[in-house]
Amino acid sequence: MIFEIEIKTKKGFVDPQGLHTVSDIAGIGIKDISSVDYVAVYRINGNITGKQADVVAKELLSDKITEDYTIKQYNSLDDKKLDKNSIEVWYKHGVTDTVSESVVKAIKDLGIKEDLVVKTGKKYCLKGKNIDDKKLKKIATGLLANTLIQEYLIK
């Protein structure tokens, strides 16, 4: 079973990563992106239940005060559907993902002893005028992803 846990700033709180991504996008010459929501994504692959995934999201991956979480569940990544006007950035296969190693350790600290594979990703949800594939690719390759070690996904 594959779980993707998405962590997003709660409404009413400042999302500094999102805000600064807007100005960074303007810095590469794209002026019509009005807002960006930043979402941290943790993909957990292994033998855990939905209830355990909920504990991981609530107790470890999100901040109870400032963040909300959403859990998506897949049998296979082929079932996954990407959001419109969003860019996901993930490490390429074989690149060390140091945060994922910490997450695996921290999940065991919660008392969940199953062997799990964790990957960490970032999702940027863009709002603005005239957002098309060309623009999304320019933002992904010019700003958000280091394509030597990271891949980006757009719908």
């Binding site: 107790e59 901040d63 400032t66 140091t98 945060v99 910490s102 997450v103 921290a106 600290d109």
Partner: protein, 270 residues
């Protein structure tokens, strides 16, 4: 209970434990600061404490130092706060409720807040947080701090007694914005649990960059209602000697005001 505890300890050497783990990097400065104040100090790895759970209770002061525990992965202090809470939680809570002094500095403050030891150790549930600086940058500079003295013109916190109205300390953090909902914030204010606020050199309200993170109510440090558990984002262990201050300010001709904070805890126990 806190007062009785201080009497029992009148004659003995004060023992301080500094918890460290991968990524901790201010433990040596903290050790030096406590030793200069006359304490015996052990830097103890979290794994050693977990394998000997009662060891922590043999100490008089608990200190959680600054740094980047576990690389600040997920969020600053999150992994170590969970590790302490889930594996040592009962004894850490017992330590706090016994009235023994506890201090968390920078990453240590984040850890105390995220495990729920501050601002209300009785509940031991996270009710506030230290979130990303408004600037979304790592902020590193000397700042001015107003010492709150609303408890009959004194501070409630045993760590900050007899400090001047305004002191300066260095900050170095990316996630130092104190956030809580209005009710919690009002409670903290009403109970005089705010210990330090970012301010200008005259103690007046200030803005970025002197307020480095946009904390609600400009909060830089808080304590529990008893005043024995104290957390702050600035680094007092980096201002032990007047020579460390940009203008060489201090007291007794030699010491920085950071030393006074550690001395207060040791003197309280003697």
């Amino acid at each position: 209970m806190a007062k009785n505890f201080a009497m029992v300890n009148k004659m003995k050497k004060i023992k301080v434990i500094i918890i460290r783990t991968a990524g901790t990097n201010c433990d040596y400065e903290l050790k030096s600061a406590f030793e200069l104040c006359g304490a015996t100090v052990d830097r103890v790895h979290i794994n050693e404490l977990i394998s000997s759970k009662n060891k922590i209770l043999s100490y008089d002061v608990l200190a959680v130092p600054g740094g980047f525990s576990y690389g600040d992965d997920i969020a600053s202090g999150k992994i170590l706060s969970n590790e302490i809470k889930y594996k040592l939680g009962d004894n850490v809570k017992k330590f706090a409720l016994s009235g023994k002094p506890i201090i968390g500095i920078c990453n240590g403050f984040q850890i105390l807040v995220k495990m729920g030891l501050l601002p209300k150790p009785e509940n031991f549930e996270q009710i506030s947080t230290l979130s990303y600086n408004d600037s979304n940058k790592f902020e590193c500079r000397w700042v001015h701090l107003k010492t709150e003295k609303k408890n009959n013109d004194r501070t409630l916190c045993l760590w900050t007694r007899d400090l001047p109205d305004v002191i300066s300390l260095p900050v170095a953090h990316g996630e130092g914005k104190f956030v809580a909902d209005k009710k919690i914030l009002d409670d903290i204010e009403k109970n005089n649990q705010v210990v330090f606020r970012y301010c200008d050199k005259n103690g007046k309200d200030t803005v970025y960059p002197q307020d480095p993170n946009g904390s609600l109510n400009a909060i830089a440090g808080v304590c529990n209602k008893k005043g024995n558990v104290f957390g702050l984002m600035p680094h007092p262990e980096r201002y032990i000697y007047a020579l460390q201050h940009p203008s060489r300010e201090g007291y007794d001709g030699v010491y920085g005001w950071g030393k006074k904070i550690f001395q207060n805890a040791i003197d309280y126990l003697k």
